[in-house]
Amino acid sequence: MSATIAALRLDLRLQRRYGFLYAAAFAAVLWIVVLNLLPAKVLGAALPYALFGDLAIVGFFFIAGAVFFEKGERTLFALLSTPLRFREYLLAKLGTLTMIAVTVSLAVVIPLRGLDFHPLTFLAGIVLTSLLMILLGFVTAAPYPSVSEWLMPALVPLVIVNVPLLSYSGVWPEPLLYLIPTHGSLLLLGAAFDQVALSWPQLLYALGYQLLWIVGLFFLARKVFERFVISREGSS
């Protein structure tokens, strides 16, 4: 446990050095400005989209940037020759980047809405979306030698996770879209602002299905890491 805490602290220092904290804060300020222009009655409907489309998914790009950089600078190999294990390394990344996502989301929502939202579904929505997107970023980025080459292929998973926007909004009520885990993210964020009334099965689906994906991607991340990062010390 203490190794994880140490890794968390180290990683948070890194995130600050990379400029991620400032970038996230800047984006939050701009979101407040934009959302503030909306009429009050539309704000509740707009917030889930803003949170889902940008604030909760910062981790997707940040993890890729960090992994490519740490691969290139050889810090990853240095780290992994210490007693720190891959599991702790990845947990630390998931922890810090999700903390950023939660902080930024709260920093946007509270000035605009005060405490007028359901904290449990809100937190569940942000945390699960963030974890899912960070792991997706990690798993898709690892096979590529550099961030420039990953940027384009990364658009494909980004488009796929956004497809449930159609089912969530009701434009394309296709039950099959429940298979894409981000449909659960949207349900939770929608429930947080009273946009959807969740039935128990829906709530179980939103929590359980995303967790299933997160656990699966976590193990896949290890596989991908061993295969693409450890076995060939790639260049950045």
């Binding site: 701009l30 384009m152 434009v171």
Partner: protein, 243 residues
Amino acid sequence: MTTLIRSFGRNDLRAIRGDTVLVTVLLAPVLYAVSLWAVPAVTRFAAATWEFDLTPYHPLLVSAFGVLGPAMVLGSLCGLLLLDDKDQRTLLALQVTPTPRAAYPAYRAGATILLVTIAVEATLALSGLVSGAALAKGVAIGVLTGLLSVLIGLTMGTLAGNKVEGIAILKGLGMLVSAIPLIPFFFLDSPWELAFGLLPSYWPARALWAAMDGGVFWPYLLGGLVYNSLLTVALLRWTARRG
């Protein structure tokens, strides 16, 4: 000059395996155009559900997905390539050759403008929401969007020390490029909308709205070309100076 462009171009194709660039130029417009294919369905849905007519907002959606989206993606790519060069000390190596100092960044800018113009025109054509007359103007809007991508790339290339900082800068730029310029759409009759012209991303979006709504188009195009070119030249000079 042509020799320069040829040799830089050849090196590009070698460095990032031509298919990456090709896939970028092909994939980005297709993905954005596909997103726009949902617009008619969303419009019907809004009309049926809330009796809300989305049609007047089509130019807004097309500017977000057809202009600013591709600008952001290809601008990021331009920035990442510049940071690649920084890592590999390409600029340093070029200084011992007789090439003029600004030649390399200028080539990178030119290549980006060309790619973005193709991508924007392709997205607008594939979207099915843009009339023939507006498509003709789309080429000029594409060039203007290309200048915006160059600005995104140069900002990343100059402000970031490495690619991880580049990603952070990209995150900061995201809202400035893809969201803030859409605000003036809601008060086009107020002179205040021009205040958004301080953002280079305002001009291509504004020119597209004019092209699609059949309003006055040229002032926005020319204003954007002049303003964004000035910024580009200033940044290019700064980049060349900092090497």
